[in-house]
């Protein structure tokens, strides 16, 4: 399956479906260690993005055009930290995917750019119990897979699996960033909502390639 514009469009729609499906879970995770709005924010943001896609008159030429639409919509509809963070991630990813299809190295570049954007915007490093704890292993896994000669979808799959493990690994962490950091030790024992939604989004990217 080629990672072309059709794949990108399906990725967005499946992302919307999966965050809506997991809305309660994300709300609950965020309620435990944040301000409880992550699930609602992601649902609102991606629903608005799908509406924008539906309103497009022509199919975009490049994968990056789709990602840019996600970026600007999330930025303006998601009112918490996730808006600026995911917005910047998708915007940076869009800049390096001005292509009709993605080869393995473009997939790596896309994920690396997203991580760079999140780190630049949020200034977190790994271990602080944030979405960086999902993105960072995802990028590392993608780099390794591409280096081993995997095809683009396999690179995405490696990233998605690493993101899921990374999200699960946030459970025992004490937050030192974001709203959860106000809870200190009490933030341990719950998965980070941003890392969880990251894992869902990257899994949707893989699913979109086999749909």
């Amino acid at each position: 399956m080629t990672l072309d514009v059709g794949w990108a469009l399906r990725w967005v729609r499946m992302s919307a479906a999966v965050v809506t499906e997991h809305r309660s879970e994300l709300i609950e995770l965020d309620r435990q260690i944040g301000d409880g709005d992550h699930g609602e924010n992601m649902h609102r943001g991606f629903t608005a993005t799908v509406a924008k896609l539906d309103a497009l008159e022509a199919e975009p030429a490049h994968v990056g055009d789709v990602l840019k639409l996600v970026a600007t919509t999330l930025m303006s509809t998601v009112g918490g930290a996730a808006g600026p963070l995911y917005g910047t991630a998708y915007l940076r990813a869009a800049k390096v995917t001005g292509l009709a299809t993605l080869d393995p190295h473009a997939v790596v570049a896309m994920l690396e750019a997203a991580l760079e954007g999140i780190v630049a915007r949020g200034k977190a490093t790994t271990g602080e119990k944030t979405m960086v704890d999902a993105w960072s292993p995802a990028v590392a896994a993608a780099v390794e897979a591409a280096g081993a000669g995997a095809d683009p979808v396999a690179v995405l799959e490696a990233a998605a699996r690493a993101a899921a493990s990374g999200a699960e690994a946030t459970i025992p962490l004490v937050a030192t960033k974001g709203r959860a950091s106000y809870l200190g030790e009490r933030s341990a024992g719950h998965a980070d909502p941003g890392a969880t939604s990251t894992a869902l989004l990257l899994r949707a990217a893989v699913d979109a390639a086999s749909a």
Partner: protein, 255 residues
């Protein structure tokens, strides 16, 4: 006294909080443009990128400078995203303050009311973080000497910007004043006194508190009948002491 050349953009997750802070700061800075933006379109808590962008552009209209203050983390992220999205020539004259929301807004507004430029207003906001201390020395300036903690008279924290114009060197002067008005140095008189002190080159203190800082003056808790010591060091120290003493003894229109 100059006319304000800096506007403030107050960004909160809460519309009520943003408006409340604007109201508070506006009491002490009636001529400063204060743009309050907070909450989401549906009236909930959060920060709206588009609204913050509009506020920043409005604040920076006609070449005006602007300082942006935010409440919590994601408001900072949104403000930073906005500053990346505006035209470069707007971004050049807009800064995001790293300061407590309420106290920073008040300090910045007073500085702007006094005609301070962006550097001065930004410095005032940052200074609010040090005036809001844990009682170790940042606040207890009167026990520790002129600048609240350091025996050599240097600022207690690195946050107070070094202003070579306002050197601590040169002649010094000293005077005392007895506060005439019943409530003494509460917020409104403190703001008036801070504006007066800002007009001088010398560093001026009242009972050791920085006379340019509204918060430091209020923290003295000096009520009517209290005798305070006014000190200044710098080229116009004597004039500064005389002016501050006169204002204290006049009673701020409340005596």
């Amino acid at each position: 006294m100059g006319t304000p050349v800096v506007a403030l953009v107050l960004v909160s997750h809460s519309r009520a909080l943003a408006q409340g802070v604007a109201e508070l700061a506006g009491q002490m800075a009636p001529d400063v443009a204060l743009l309050a933006v907070g909450g989401t379109d549906d009236g909930g808590l959060g920060t709206d990128f588009a609204r913050v962008l509009t506020a920043v552009e409005e604040a920076a209209v006609d070449g005006r400078s602007a300082l942006v203050l935010t409440d919590l983390g994601s408001a900072v992220l949104t403000a930073e995203s906005v500053l990346e999205a505006v035209d470069l020539e707007v971004a050049d004259r807009v800064r995001l303050a790293d300061a407590p929301f309420v106290e920073g807004a008040v300090e910045a507004a007073v500085a702007a009311q006094g005609g301070g430029d962006l550097d001065a207003v930004h410095g005032a906001a940052r200074h609010a973080a040090t005036a809001f201390g844990t009682g170790d020395g940042a606040r207890g300036a009167s026990e520790h000497g002129p600048s609240g903690g350091r025996p050599d008279g240097a600022p207690a924290h690195g946050d107070v910007p070094h202003d070579p114009e306002r050197s601590g060197a040169g002649p010094t002067a000293r005077g005392t004043a007895v506060l005439r008005n019943r409530l003494g140095l509460h917020a409104r008189p403190a703001a008036a006194l801070a504006r007066t002190a800002s007009a001088f080159v010398s560093r001026v203190t009242v009972n050791g508190a920085d006379a340019r800082s509204v918060l430091a003056l209020v923290a003295l808790g000096a009520v009517g009948g209290t005798e305070v010591v006014v000190s200044a060091s710098g080229p116009d120290a004597r004039t500064a002491v005389n002016a501050v003493v006169a204002e204290l003894e006049e009673g701020f229109g409340e005596a």
